[in-house]
């Protein structure tokens, strides 16, 4: 079976037309004065999905989350949760909870009281509250810190209190606004897996807002790429990476090399793209545009091979000069300058410790890639 990326997914409700989406944004627009934060946006999120809203700052992702939580109402359009229109329902009556970017812990309450706050508002009985709080603190491994105040905790501990507090009420949907932004890299990576386990174990729907693409790729079932209040693409991390829908998405997520050219030929055997300098790229990926259209051929650095000799078949190969090398340990980055002046970024995995005849600066080198290695972008 062939698939994009290296993961086979059994969870794909979005591919099943029978499944009704759980959260629906229907032509939602949000304006603040003259500024349009969200522009006629439609989006569906499914039950038990881990959904990421990814975009640069100011793309409207936090506004979407705040509208879902009930802090802002859409200017136009509607938001449905489990079939119910959320308009006019105040935040304290919505079955969603949010984990705030600043954690927003109550400074005058202990860890225990923070976690119990939402349960108290529900009018839960005291023994049950105590039991649930203990359970939550155990889940986030903070049992021995129950009596501390937030200022007596480290950043990572605060983050876990915020998490425990927001899932204590067992909300239908948990919203996470840049939840890991304040943590250092190592802690962030650990916490990412913890969050994924939590989501799996509790069976909740998670909607996360982040500007960190690695974070989104690691955790999410699907990612929505947002730009200027509009959705650029919604897809699984592998689809976003391997089959980006536009030049914007392709260059926003990960590194990419773009070759601008015109679609020269297009038949059952594949597609040919002719670049300005006459080079022809043969690709197996399709494009439903007529010949002569301006297109871009986009290819990820790791899918380009670099060697000191021309490839045997001579297909999709170009000669250049090694311009820069960065040795990163697990892999090496080569920037190769082609004859037409274009810089091509390639990465090769350092699978063995010893390399015969390694490339060095200013060496002549050949880049080459397979016909299925890249995608053709029309937008």
């Amino acid at each position: 079976m062939q698939s994009l990326g290296s993961i086979r997914r059994d969870f794909a409700p979005w591919a099943d037309p029978e499944v009704r989406p759980y959260i629906v944004f229907e032509n939602v627009t949000k304006r603040f004065g003259d500024f349009t934060a969200v522009n006629n946006l439609s989006l569906s999120i499914y039950e038990r999905e881990f959904f990421a809203l990814l975009g640069a700052s100011g793309c409207g992702k936090s506004t979407l989350l705040r509208m879902l939580a009930g802090f802002d109402d859409p200017t136009a359009g509607r938001i449905l949760l489990d079939g119910q229109d959320l308009r006019g329902i105040p935040p304290y009556r919505r079955p969603v909870n949010m984990m705030f970017q600043s954690y927003a812990l109550f400074p005058h309450m202990t860890v225990e009281q923070n976690v119990a706050f939402g349960l108290k508002q529900e009018g839960m009985a005291k023994p049950e509250i105590a039991q649930r709080v203990a359970e939550m603190l155990k889940l986030v491994k903070l049992t021995q810190f129950a009596k501390r105040k937030p200022h007596q905790l480290s950043g990572g501990q605060r983050q876990r209190v915020a998490l425990a507090r927001s899932v204590a009420k067992r909300p239908k949907v948990l919203l996470l606004d840049e939840p890991l932004g304040a943590l250092d890299k190592k802690l962030r990576e650990e916490t990412q897996f913890e969050l994924m386990d939590l989501q799996q174990n509790l069976g909740l729907t998670f909607v996360i807002v982040t500007h960190d693409q690695e974070e989104a790729m690691t955790m999410a079932d699907r990612i929505a790429i947002l730009e200027k209040g509009e959705v650029m693409q919604v897809a699984t991390p592998a689809e976003i990476y391997e089959a980006p829908g536009s030049r914007y998405v392709a260059s926003f997520v990960g590194n990419i090399n773009m070759f601008e050219g015109t679609l020269a030929r297009h038949d059952g055997n594949g597609t040919e793209i002719r670049l300005a300098d006459g080079m022809v790229i043969r690709s197996e990926s399709g494009a439903n545009v007529p010949a002569g259209t301006q297109v871009a051929f986009a290819i990820r650095p790791e899918k380009i091979a670099v060697s000191s000799r021309p490839p045997a078949d001579g297909l999709n190969a170009a000669e250049g000069e090694i311009y820069d090398i960065a040795y990163l340990g697990d892999m090496t980055v080569y920037n190769v300058r082609l004859a037409n002046g274009q810089m091509v970024k390639t990465t090769s995995l350092n699978a063995s410790r010893v390399v015969q005849d390694p490339l060095t600066w200013h060496d002549r080198a050949w880049i080459s890639f397979r016909p299925d290695a890249g995608v053709i972008l029309t937008r």
């Binding site: 939580a69 009930g70 802090f71 105040p90 935040p91 304290y92 009556r93 969603v96 909870n97 949010m98 705030f100 970017q101 600043s102 927003a104 812990l105 109550f106 400074p107 005058h108 706050f117 939402g118 508002q121 529900e122 501390r148 105040k149 200022h151 007596q152 905790l153 480290s154 501990q157 507090r165 927001s166 009420k169």
Partner: protein, 272 residues
């Protein structure tokens, strides 16, 4: 910064402190004077303190002052806090600039004018001058000080904790009483203390708005001084100074301890 005392530093400190405290020191010293003449030292005595507590007029005035201070500070705190909330939270309402200007105007208004205008108002509406009018006047002018103190706390207040409370199911009213109020309480308390102090030592506005039977301590002292300074007054002032000094020192010690504790906690948290 070097820890050495240069001659210049010593001189400036001595001069500065002398300027600030010499009058007070002399006042305190002469309250223990045995002689009735205020400026001639006649030996140590505490008889003026004794006679102070026999002076029913002064004691009554002190009692009035405390009651006015307590009631006016409490009312001013409620009003000032509400004004501060309105000013920081609803930043887009019509006439906000006018409103904030009007709330803070009494801060810079000469007291004579505030006093006079209040007097005119009370006369116009036929309110008999007395305890009630003094209290109302004090509420009026100390409210804006409370508003300033509370507003400065609210400006650094993280609104997301209120949103978090509502997100967790608390209605706006509950959010206010369970989250907002406890967090800004220190500012409200210090606003109250400021209002109380302002009311305690106000002379000008009280003179305008007070009537028979509602003489405050500053008014009483002032009227007695006009007849000649007695060591009794010195004793009364010394007691006031002691009271204020104890209050200020206690407050700063508590604050300092809390700060140290907080720092220690934070360091402990970073280690775990």
């Amino acid at each position: 910064m070097s820890g050495k005392w240069s001659r210049f530093n010593i001189v400036s400190i001595v001069l500065g402190f002398a300027f600030l405290y010499l009058p007070i020191v002399i006042l305190v010293l002469f309250s223990f004077n045995a002689s009735k003449l205020v400026t001639v030292w006649g030996g140590f005595s505490i008889k003026w303190y004794y006679s102070l507590f026999q002076n029913q007029g002064l004691i009554d005035a002190a009692w009035v002052t405390l009651r006015v201070g307590f009631i006016s500070a409490t009312a001013a705190t409620v009003l000032g806090t509400l004004a501060a909330l309105a000013l920081t939270r609803y930043t887009r309402f019509r006439g906000r600039v006018l409103f904030s200007g009007m709330v803070f105007a009494p801060l810079v208004m000469p007291e004579v004018i505030t006093g006079l205008s209040l007097l005119l108002l009370f006369v116009a509406i036929g309110l008999d001058r007395g305890f009630l009018t003094v209290t109302l006047a004090h509420i009026t002018f100390s409210m804006c000080f409370v508003a300033v103190v509370v507003q400065s706390r609210l400006l650094t207040f993280d609104r997301s904790i209120e949103e978090a409370a509502m997100d967790l199911g608390a209605t706006p009213v509950r959010t206010f009483f369970q989250i907002t109020l406890p967090v800004i309480l220190p500012a409200i308390v210090s606003g109250w203390m400021l209002a109380f102090t302002l009311s305690l030592d106000d002379l000008v506005i009280a003179s305008f708005t007070s009537g028979p039977g509602a003489t405050t301590l500053p008014m009483k002292i002032y009227s007695q001084v006009r007849l000649g300074v007695t060591p009794e007054i010195n004793a009364a002032c010394t007691l006031l100074i002691a009271l204020v000094a104890i209050g200020v020192i206690a407050a700063s010690i508590v604050n300092k301890r809390r700060e140290v504790q907080r720092l220690r906690d934070e360091q402990a948290a970073q280690r775990t």
